[in-house]
């Protein structure tokens, strides 16, 4: 009896997860919050990605060379001034090497 109950519970959990995953297609891939407008991200991460891109050009200018993106990300992750949303976005961007859309 206990084995059957356990198996039913596990099946229900997998069903619920499948439903959640389907629903998450419309969510921000970083934080699962609702996407904003046509963007791929929620408002906070849309703003974060925009900031990361804008500051990248400043970093290149500051060091007078084209900095490799991974090096740029690694530098940002190392700095304590970097915001938490930026850290989360970088982790996502590193996993999607093509960069933001």
């Amino acid at each position: 009896m206990a084995v059957i109950a356990k198996s039913v519970a596990q099946t229900l959990w997998h069903c619920a997860r499948a439903l959640t995953v389907t629903k998450l297609v419309d969510a921000c891939p970083i934080c699962r919050r609702p996407k904003v407008g046509q963007s791929e991200f929620c408002s906070l991460h849309f703003r974060t990605i925009k900031n990361i891109e804008e500051q990248y050009t400043k970093w290149c200018k500051a060091f007078d060379r084209d900095i490799d993106r991974l090096e740029y990300y690694a530098n940002l992750l190392r700095l304590e001034e970097t915001g938490n949303a930026v850290r989360a976005a970088i982790t996502y961007l590193k996993g999607n090497r093509d960069g933001p859309t």
């Binding site: 206990a2 356990k6 519970a9 596990q10 229900l12 959990w13 699962r32 919050r33 609702p34 408002s43 906070l44 703003r47 974060t48 900031n51 990361i52 804008e54 500051q55 400043k58 970093w59 200018k61 500051a62 060091f63 007078d64 940002l76 700095l79 001034e81 970097t82 915001g83 938490n84 949303a85 930026v86």
Partner: protein, 698 residues
């Protein structure tokens, strides 16, 4: 009638001629009796607000929108206000024998409203014949003067402005908070208090926006040049003409060009600046200064200031005035303060300087002057925080009469090739008021050696240092209060309370204020569905209208009607989107609930997250593995069943498991490791081993 029992005692003591006033209890409520000739006077008090705004017809807590309201005794509206019931009954009973009524509540918006409501409802319409005492300190002389020459009637514009503020805030609060709470409840089926309000919404938005700025902040590098110049053997720190260089190569180029070179001073400049004395404290500046120097939250500093007021040590603190009228008796107060050792020297200097004229600020308040010490010396031992705040008020008061301080700043421009460097010095050449306000006004002197134009100097050391741009600072209670004041939202009396509400609701945490994910989501939802609610414009307009009511150029009814017309479409829109809002709120509430029960240590058996859970059948709490439903992991640990549990960030030195603190009332908090304890218990007590297994099977 006064606002609080302490004030009633002070008023009674001040008005009784020779002997102490007699304390009479009417249904357990204290009244103070004064007898003069054949006349009998009773001094009673309210307990703050005894009446509150409530829905006219109550259809339950979930009903919204609600537009019709009435004023009701507070004990009928809020739970836990039973004392108020007794108070109203006692005042009503005594008032039947009274032939004359005098309102001696604090002379401000809230005080006027408290007095009016009690006179109107508890004293059977005595508001129309009541007289009004106006005073700013609880000193004997001022209270007697106010009693001998009362205003002929209540200050009705102030009362109506107070009523309007409460009614408008109630309309906002009840409708918006119910909209949020009900939306979440209908989807999640679990109750959580979610509130927002006319001032609370925009204030929370300030915090959330700042938090987002910090979270999305990307630092960028820049360089500064650290330069030391040799001026006739004296090494002096200098700065480069540009405080900040954006390119590394540019900074390196300056270093290479200038290292070891000599330059010439080509310009010298010296200016004297007057530093006028500080203005006397209004409430906001007092709260800010108290936070800056003592880290006292605005609510705490207001509470302490009120205690000092009731002890007759300072004037009424809820004031927005920075002015001190001569009628308060500058010299008398200053001379009295001189009797305290710590101010004796400053008082002697101050009285020796001749005419006493305070440096008043721009802000004024028709009801009260700025906060000032009454000159009455403390009769009891002041506790540490009271002493600090009292010292701050006294020194600020004395300093406002001080002489202008003079600061000299010197600048020398040094040319090295095509580059310019600056030498900067500053010196306080006339101390003035800074001597009186010394612990709270700090100036550091930077003394330069004698310099002349054409003098040769050598670059002793030059190096470039990489820096990073910094995110904006978190708000703290003091800076948030200042922001609210700058945005002209809330009043001097309510701002501190609103910041406290943000903490109570779990929207913000810490002294460096961090907004929680729930706060971000609420602001996101309100911005999406009703952006006007979190916009300061309407709130600011309302504040202006309420000030107009105080001046008699606007009516309370009009402002309330305008508010209802403004709110109606907003609430309707929220109601129409109830489901969507509920889903969004539920998601974050579930996330926060999970977050608040999760442990940082993963399950040692399957690596899943561990959570503090409750057995739905026995209601006993335990630590369980979230992998139970996914992979069938049955790992669990027992927890103490009594007391409040707190998850600590520390881990057990023996096994690395997250430590838990248990708090039981009246006992010292106990920190324990649930994992080690279990192991130890299992080996030592076989009976417990069986019970642990039982939980695992569940």
């Amino acid at each position: 009638m006064t606002e609080k029992p302490d004030a009633a005692l002070h008023v009674a003591e001040a008005l009784s001629e020779n002997k102490a006033p007699a304390k009479i209890l009417v249904e357990g409520v204290p009244f103070f009796e004064i007898r003069a000739d054949t006349r009998r006077t009773l001094v009673c008090s309210a307990l703050g607000h005894l009446y509150a705004v409530a829905a006219k017809e109550s259809h339950g807590q979930s009903e919204y929108p609600v537009w019709n309201f009435v004023w009701k005794p507070k004990h009928l509206v809020q739970r836990g206000e039973d004392r108020q019931k007794k108070w109203i009954q006692a005042i009503a009973k005594v008032s039947q024998q009274a032939d004359r009524f005098i309102d001696a509540c604090d002379f401000d918006l809230e005080g006027s409203l408290i007095g009016y409501m009690v006179l109107k409802y508890a004293c059977h319409g005595a508001d129309q014949k009541a007289q009004r005492m106006k005073f700013s300190t609880l000193t004997k002389a001022e209270l007697r003067e106010a009693y001998a020459n009362p205003l002929p009637h209540l200050n009705f514009p102030l009362v109506f402005a107070g009523m309007c503020r409460h009614e408008v805030d109630w309309l906002f609060g009840i409708n918006l908070s119910r909209a949020l709470t009900q939306s979440a409840l209908k989807v999640s089926k679990r109750y959580a208090t979610l509130s927002t309000g006319r001032v609370q919404g925009p204030t929370l938005r300030f915090v959330v926006e700042r938090q987002h700025e910090i979270e999305t902040f990307v630092p960028t590098p820049y360089w500064v040049l650290k330069v030391k110049l040799d001026v006739d053997g004296c090494i002096v720190a200098a700065s480069y003409e540009n405080d900040r260089i954006d390119k590394r190569t540019d900074a390196e180029e300056v270093v290479q060009t200038c290292a070891g070179k000599s330059g010439v001073i080509n310009a010298l400049d010296s200016t004297n600046y007057d530093l006028p004395p500080p203005t006397p404290f209004d409430l906001t500046s007092l709260q800010n200064e108290a936070f800056r120097h003592f880290r006292l939250s605005p609510r705490i500093s207001l509470a302490i200031a009120e205690r000092l007021y009731l002890d007759q040590l300072i004037s009424y603190p809820r004031t927005s005035s920075q002015k001190l009228p001569p009628s308060i008796g500058y010299e008398r107060i200053i001379r009295n303060l001189g009797r305290l050792d710590s101010y004796q020297a400053d008082v002697t200097n101050l009285l020796g300087q001749g005419r006493l004229v305070p440096n008043e600020g721009k802000k004024s308040d028709p009801a009260h002057p700025a906060v000032y010490p009454t000159g009455t010396l403390p009769k009891r031992h002041l506790e540490s925080r009271e002493r600090k705040l009292y010292d701050l008020v006294v020194r600020r008061f004395l300093a406002s009469f001080g002489l202008t301080a003079v600061k000299q700043t010197s600048k020398a421009a040094v040319k090295v090739g095509n580059h310019h460097f600056l030498l900067r010095g500053s010196l306080l050449i006339k101390k003035g008021w800074t001597g009186i306000y010394r612990p709270y006004a700090k100036f550091e002197d930077v003394v330069l050696p004698p310099l002349r134009v054409g003098q040769s100097v050598l670059i002793h050391e030059i190096k470039s240092e990489q820096r990073l741009t910094q995110p904006p600072p978190h708000y703290n209670p003091g800076s948030l209060l200042r922001k609210m004041e700058d945005a002209e939202i809330g009043t001097k009396a309510t701002r501190a309370e609103i910041i406290e509400t943000l903490y109570k609701r779990g929207y913000v945490t810490g002294q460096k204020i961090n907004s929680t994910p729930l706060a971000s989501r609420i602001i996101e939802i309100l911005t999406k569905h009703c952006p006007k609610i979190v916009d300061v414009t309407f709130t600011r307009e309302l504040e202006a209208k309420m000030e107009k009511i105080e001046r008699g150029s606007e009516t309370r009814e009009d402002v309330v009607l305008q508010t209802v017309n403004y709110l109606k479409p907003i609430i309707e829109s929220l109601k129409a989107n109830e489901r969507e809002i509920g889903q969004e709120l539920t998601a974050i509430l579930v996330e926060m609930r999970e977050e608040s029960t999760s442990l940082i240590t993963p399950c040692p058996q399957c690596g899943s997250r561990l959570r503090i859970a409750k057995n739905p059948r026995t209601h006993k709490r335990f630590i369980g593995c979230t992998g139970k439903w996914r992979s069938g992991c049955s790992y669990s640990l027992p927890l103490p069943q009594l007391g409040t549990l707190t998850r600590l960030t520390k881990t057990c030195p023996a096994c690395g498991f997250q430590l838990i603190q248990v708090r039981l009332r009246g006992r010292r908090p106990l920190v324990s490791c649930c994992r080690c304890y279990t192991k130890k218990a299992l080996s030592q007590f076989p009976s417990l081993k069986a019970s642990v297994r039982k939980v695992e099977v569940m």
